[in-house]
């Protein structure tokens, strides 16, 4: 921990590069796509460097401009943070490649040239800004700075949500914005209480010193409610499906795969210390259990593919919270399960939304009933959709299976049988709704409809790459788990 302030300057690059990219894309309106790709690749590179540095050198810490806290901004990269940055980088790169193809296809295939060009000009700066904000959130060491990043994440994602311009997406975005603001204000009030109780804003100090005194309990409650609102944990999930399902395809993927992980990660950070977990860890777990069941039923009853995938996010968020009672002892398997759910969900869900986007683009609708036969038009993305589904269901070989295994075995070893059963039943329900969609997508019907426009190959293949990654996570678990050990 006693590193000199400058030994870990590499921490800032995953934040600075996309931020710079956002500015460049905003100013260089002629070819934002080119700039966007360039900065995405560089961000991905710097994030990989960060991951590698953390793995080889341990926790990194950096004070911006040499100013020490509390007034200066401190960045801190430990294993979980680095893993989240890596997750964002890899998923983000896939989404970036897809977006390039997406705007290219739309511009090539439609006469409303002007509208799509404007969409694209706004998309790239907002997306890179969001990326920078997410990385800032993962790497921030103090909770006020985290508040700023949270707001940045929220504002840029609202901007992305409205891009599609359809009236439902506007209303959904407004609701999303209001919920987000409510969440971050609640969070800020909690930050105030924490400062009152501890006299510091450093996350590492606060999360270790969670003593059950009234201000601390108040603070933790406020912060938790704020973050649950933003993560859309049941019963705060109402805003998520319309916002995620009505956005443009790459935006849906960004929101579902990455944005909710930001606030979830903070929730974990505040609770990880464990002092209060034994007493109240059951609360997020219960809400998570309800989310798993409720989300699955809702997903099953949807008529539109993107709504189904969005409700599946509601259910999967449940998994992200259900393991909190398992964090109490230090073996770390509960944490491993949580993070493995997060990263494999990120890849799988991004792949599914991206694949669903190609169906939409090709057929002009996403009614599940009428999707039969789409396999012939889009074999690669159909396969990607199915593979993503495999990971969501937690069937081998996939990251979802590893996560489910870790969760259930930890739950059984702690005699939390209800938790193990919820996880198993939940994955059965997931299979029910996933196969409702997959059987339609994979069915060998012949399709009569004529495709609307040519879907760029890069779209299908980037969806498949992410889906394959979700599968590969199922056999390369030792690597991410080793990174998580660095704390």
């Amino acid at each position: 921990m006693n590193l000199s302030p400058d030994s870990s300057a590499w921490i800032i690059w995953p934040v600075v590069v996309p931020l710079l990219g956002a500015v460049v894309c905003f100013l260089y309106k002629k070819k934002p796509r080119l700039a966007g790709h360039f900065f995405a690749v560089v961000t991905c590179g710097t994030s990989t460097v960060l991951g590698w540095q953390v793995l080889s050198q341990g926790v990194g810490r950096h004070l911006l401009g040499g100013w020490s806290p509390p007034l200066g901004i401190s960045l801190r990269a430990d294993g979980p943070a680095a893993l989240m940055v890596m997750m964002t980088a890899v998923t983000g790169l896939g989404i970036t490649l897809y977006s390039g193809g997406y705007f290219q296809s739309r511009l090539a295939g439609d006469s409303q040239d002007h509208r799509f060009r404007a969409q694209e000009q706004s998309f790239w700066p907002l997306w890179l800004l969001l990326w920078a904000a997410l990385n800032g959130l993962f790497l921030s060491g103090d909770i006020f700075n985290i508040y700023i990043s949270l707001e940045l994440v929220a504002l840029s994602s609202v901007g992305l949500t409205v891009l599609s311009g359809k009236p439902p997406s506007l209303v959904a975005a407004m609701r999303y914005l209001l919920v987000s603001l409510l969440g971050s204000l609640t969070f800020l009030l909690g930050v105030g209480f924490f400062y009152k109780a501890h006299g510091t804003l450093e996350l590492a100090v606060i999360s270790k010193a969670l003593a059950p005194t009234p201000p601390v309990i108040m603070a933790l409650a406020l912060v938790s409610v704020g973050l649950m609102l933003k993560t859309a944990l049941f019963p705060f999930h109402f805003w998520l499906p319309p916002a995620h399902a009505n956005a443009l395809a790459p935006v849906s993927a960004i929101l579902s795969a990455l944005v909710i992980k930001g606030s979830w990660y903070l929730f974990y950070r505040f609770w990880q210390g464990g002092g209060l977990l034994a007493a109240v860890g059951i609360v997020p777990a219960l809400l998570g259990s309800v989310a798993i069941i409720w989300g699955a039923f809702q997903a099953f009853s949807q008529q539109r593919l993107k709504m189904l995938v969005a409700y599946s996010t509601v259910a999967q968020i449940g998994y992200l919270f259900v393991a909190f009672p398992l964090l109490v002892d230090s073996a770390g398997q509960g944490r491993d399960a949580l993070f493995y759910f997060a990263i494999s969900h990120s890849c799988a869900k991004a792949a599914m939304f991206l694949a669903a986007g190609t169906f939409f683009l090709q057929l002009g609708h996403d009614r599940i009933r009428d999707l039969a036969g789409v396999r012939q038009l889009l074999p690669v993305s159909s396969f990607a959709f199915a593979l993503g589904g495999v990971s969501l269901m937690g069937l081998p070989p996939s990251g979802g299976f590893i996560a489910k295994y870790l969760l259930v075995s930890k739950a059984i070893s702690q005699d939390l049988w209800w938790l193990a059963l919820i996880a198993v039943v939940g994955s059965g329900l997931t299979a029910v709704y996933v196969f409702r969609a997959v059987s339609s997508v994979l069915s060998p019907h012949l399709l009569e409809e004529r495709p609307l426009l040519v879907v760029a190959a890069s779209m299908q293949w980037s969806a498949l790459a992410l889906a394959l990654l979700a599968i590969v996570l199922g056999i390369m678990a030792p690597l991410p788990l080793a990174l998580l050990e660095v704390t």
Partner: protein, 500 residues
């Protein structure tokens, strides 16, 4: 020693790589697809032969991949896995030949053959799994790779059958998963080669062991179609004939039966299973399944459904052999894994021929089929006789050892079950044979794709059943030679399970 580790991976890759390439081939690219398929199948046969020779000379084949801290994916070839691997790769070769001709003009062949190859890869993975988690890993993948084959026709009926199939197998998978994880929490790595691993738990964890056993057996029992978990099997008959052949003889049902063997013999071990009082209930389930399957088969008029119920019944012979639990009976059960596979695949090939060439699906319309398709019906008759258990055919050998084992074990009542089941088998197979050979044809066939040169229909549809029928005759006739499956099974039982 490196090549021995690579060999197992190569055996997996020899069907996986062609499968993945086939996915990318154009629909019309028939030549390449067929070539890849057959090459893969032949290469796999050769590799498997090398492996079997190696095992019989005492070489060890194993390869491990760390999956999680303290949990490995292990592939290991022991004699029992070699038995299953040999069966799967041999029958895969025949089924591929058959499927190429069978699906000649149907759509989506690239998809079909791609999943077909993956399915065989996964089955081999099940056979080679060296610990329980690896077994679970491949067992679940089998569900995923067979589902697209079940719904291959895409009709409403096929989709419905696919749903039922998933409902059963995924639920079974979850039960198995829960059991496996529970066991891992109790004892850590459950390796098949460590006998008596669970013995120390007998005193402290009796209820847990019983619970886990029930979870595991009901998990694999779904695929083995144990009554009352058999409902998916007859419905999955809407799939094309090669798929049925694959489900029944090569992959799914066999994987279930193989799983029961692994759990009873290698994970729990016979002493522990009987110590927990679990052998008898399992034996009762097996006998019920044998009789119930045959009774239902009697009532069927659709040939493929009849064969499906017959599978339900026949596969439980394997379970029965294991649960009787003395070396002779285990031999009978194990060798039935092979014998049933060869005979049943013959029957499905023939049923497919009759349906494909003449459009006849119902048994009541089969009058006179023997005149039109003598070779096919000849093979069918041979295999059906084998199923009934007439000496010297394959089925007789299995039943003989089962019976001997039952008597040695003092379970004489099982002989009654065996005799009853044989009578039932005869009662549903003999009428078909009688109709086909001795009744006059009634009216024209629903369709007739015509003879092709010397052959009664496409030669690739006739040759595979003839070969498998011949094999089913040979394994019975030459059961005592050193190269027969029986000899190999004797080798397994004497080296691993005899001491008890």
């Amino acid at each position: 020693m490196a090549w021995q580790n690579w060999l197992l991976l190569l055996i997996l890759l020899s069907s996986m790589v062609p499968g993945l390439i086939i996915f990318t081939l154009a629909e019309s690219n028939r030549g390449w697809r067929t070539a890849l398929n057959l090459c893969g199948a032949v290469v796999k046969m050769i590799l498997v032969l090398v492996m079997i020779i190696g095992i019989s000379q005492g070489q060890r084949f194993a390869v491990a991949l760390p999956l999680l801290p303290g949990v490995d994916l292990v592939l290991r070839a022991d004699p029992l896995s070699a038995l299953f691997v040999a069966l799967s790769s041999l029958l895969w070769l025949f089924t591929t030949l058959y499927a190429v001709a069978y699906l000649e003009d149907s759509p989506n062949r690239s998809h079909f053959f791609g999943y077909f190859s993956l399915c065989v890869t996964v089955t081999i993975g099940i056979a080679l799994a060296g610990n329980l988690l690896t077994f679970l890993f491949f067992f679940e993948m089998l569900t995923l790779t067979t589902y697209p084959l079940v719904i291959h026709r895409g009709t409403a009926e096929a989709m419905a059958a696919g749903r039922v199939y998933l409902l059963y197998t995924l639920t079974g998978g979850l039960l198995l998963f829960l059991g496996v994880v529970w066991l891992y929490v109790l004892v850590g790595e459950v390796d098949f080669s460590r006998q008596g691993l669970l013995m120390p738990l007998l005193d402290g964890h009796r209820p847990a062991l019983i619970g886990i056993f029930c979870l595991l057996i009901s998990g694999v029992g779904v695929k083995a179609a144990l009554v009352p978990l058999h409902g998916w099997l007859p419905r999955a008959m809407v799939a094309p004939a090669p798929v049925s052949a694959l489900l029944h003889a090569v992959a799914v049902v066999k994987a279930g039966a193989f799983g029961i063997m692994r759990i009873v013999l290698d994970v729990y071990g016979l002493p522990l299973t009987s110590g927990l009082g679990l052998l008898m209930p399992l034996m009762l389930v097996a006998t019920c399944t044998i009789l119930y399957g045959s009774l239902l088969a009697l009532r069927q008029d659709n040939l493929k459904r009849l064969l499906a119920y017959s599978t339900v019944s026949q596969v439980s012979y394997i379970v029965l052999g294991i649960t009787i639990g003395n070396p002779l009976a285990i031999m009978g059960g194990m060798v039935h894994l092979i014998h049933q596979g060869i005979m049943k695949i013959t029957l499905f090939f023939c049923a497919g021929n009759i349906a494909e060439t003449l459009g006849v699906h119902a048994i009541s319309r089969m009058n006179g089929v023997g005149r039109r398709l003598p070779l096919t019906m000849g093979a069918f008759t041979l295999a059906a006789m084998g199923m009934i258990g007439l000496p010297p055919l394959a089925g007789f050998v299995s039943k003989w050892y089962l019976g001997l084992g039952a008597i040695n074990q003092g379970e004489g009542w099982l002989l009654v079950v065996l005799v009853l089941s044989t009578l039932l088998n005869a009662a549903y197979f003999l009428p078909i044979i009688y109709r086909a050979w001795f009744r006059e044809q009634e009216g024209p066939w629903p369709k007739d794709s015509g003879a092709m040169g010397l052959w009664e229909c496409h030669w690739m549809l006739v040759v595979p059943p003839l070969l498998t029928a011949a094999i089913s005759l040979l394994v019975g006739l030459l059961a005592n030679s050193t190269l027969s499956p029986l000899a190999w099974v004797r080798f397994i039982v004497t080296t691993r399970y005899e001491p008890w």
